[in-house]
Symmetry: C2
Subunit: 113 residues, 2 copies
DNA sequence: TTTTATACCTAAGTTACTTATGTATGTAAG
DNA sequence: CTTACATACATAAGTAACTTAGGTATAAAA
C-alpha cells in the first residue's frame, strides 16, 4: 500500500479506533503506531493526519492535553463522550464496508456461476 | 454504505474483477451486478462509472463492442490482455489493503495490550 | 401521461488525500 | 562540528476520485 489511495475516507476512523484502544495518543505517535500495526504497509502522512485531528477536535470528538516532554511539545488527544459514540458507529461502518468488499471479491474466485 | 466514501479508489478494481469473472458486461449491467452482489450496500453512481470505464479503455485495459438490443444501445466491455494482467495486480493490492485494515481494526478488540 | 426502468453521457462541485514546505529540538554519524 | 535523521508540530497548494445534477433516448407499467 503506502501510496495506494484505497484507504481514503478511513483515516478518521483509524484515529478514533486507536484512541479508543490506547486512551490517549499524540500525533506523531499515531503515525508510528499505524506503521507498526501494518508492518509499514500504511504510512499516515502528516499533511493528512494533523488536519484530520484538528477537524475531529473541532467536531467535538476529541479533547487535547498539551504536555512538554524532553523539551518537546506533545499534543495528546483523547476521545470525548461524543467521540466514543462516533467511534463505535464509524467502526461498524468500516467493518461493514470491509465485508462488503470481501463479498465483491469472492465470487468466481471460488466456483460460483 | 451507499453514501460512504470508503470505497474510493477501488472502483476500477471492482470493474476489472467483474469483467474477469463475467467475460463481458455493459455499464448499466455493472451497476446492477454490484447492487446485487452487495445486497444494495454499494451503489455505483453513473457519474463515477462511465468516466471510469472510459479511462480504463483509454489506458488500453478494456475493449468495447457496441450492440443494439431491444432498440437500445449497449456498450459491452471486456478485458484486453493488458487489462487481465492489471486486474490481477489490482486485485492483489485490494486484498492486501483489506487485510491491512483488518489488522488495524482487530487489536484491542481482542485482548492484546 | 406520468413514472419507472433501461441505457448512455458530461460538467461542476466536493472531499480527502499527497506533496511540499516551514519551525524547532535532540541525537547519531562522519 | 556540522550534517543528517528522528521527534513533534503545522499549513498551503495541487490532485484524484468521487457525488450531484443535469442531459438524451427508448420501453414498459401505473
Amino acid at each position: 500500500m503506502s501510496n495506494s489511495k484505497l484507504y481514503k475516507g478511513s483515516l478518521s476512523t483509524i484515529i478514533l479506533k486507536l484512541l479508543a484502544d490506547e486512551g490517549k495518543m499524540y500525533g506523531y505517535e499515531i503515525t508510528q503506531k499505524v506503521k507498526q500495526l501494518t508492518q509499514d504497509e500504511l504510512q499516515i502522512k502528516e499533511g493528512a493526519l494533523y488536519p484530520a485531528l484538528h477537524k475531529l477536535e473541532a467536531d467535538g470528538l476529541l479533547d487535547i492535553e498539551v504536555k512538554k516532554v524532553d523539551n518537546r511539545l506533545r499534543k495528546y488527544y483523547k476521545l470525548t463522550e461524543k467521540g466514543t459514540q462516533e467511534s463505535i458507529g464509524k467502526l461498524a461502518e468500516l467493518e461493514r464496508y470491509l465485508s462488503t468488499m470481501q463479498a465483491l471479491l469472492l465470487p468466481k474466485t471460488k466456483l460460483s456461476s
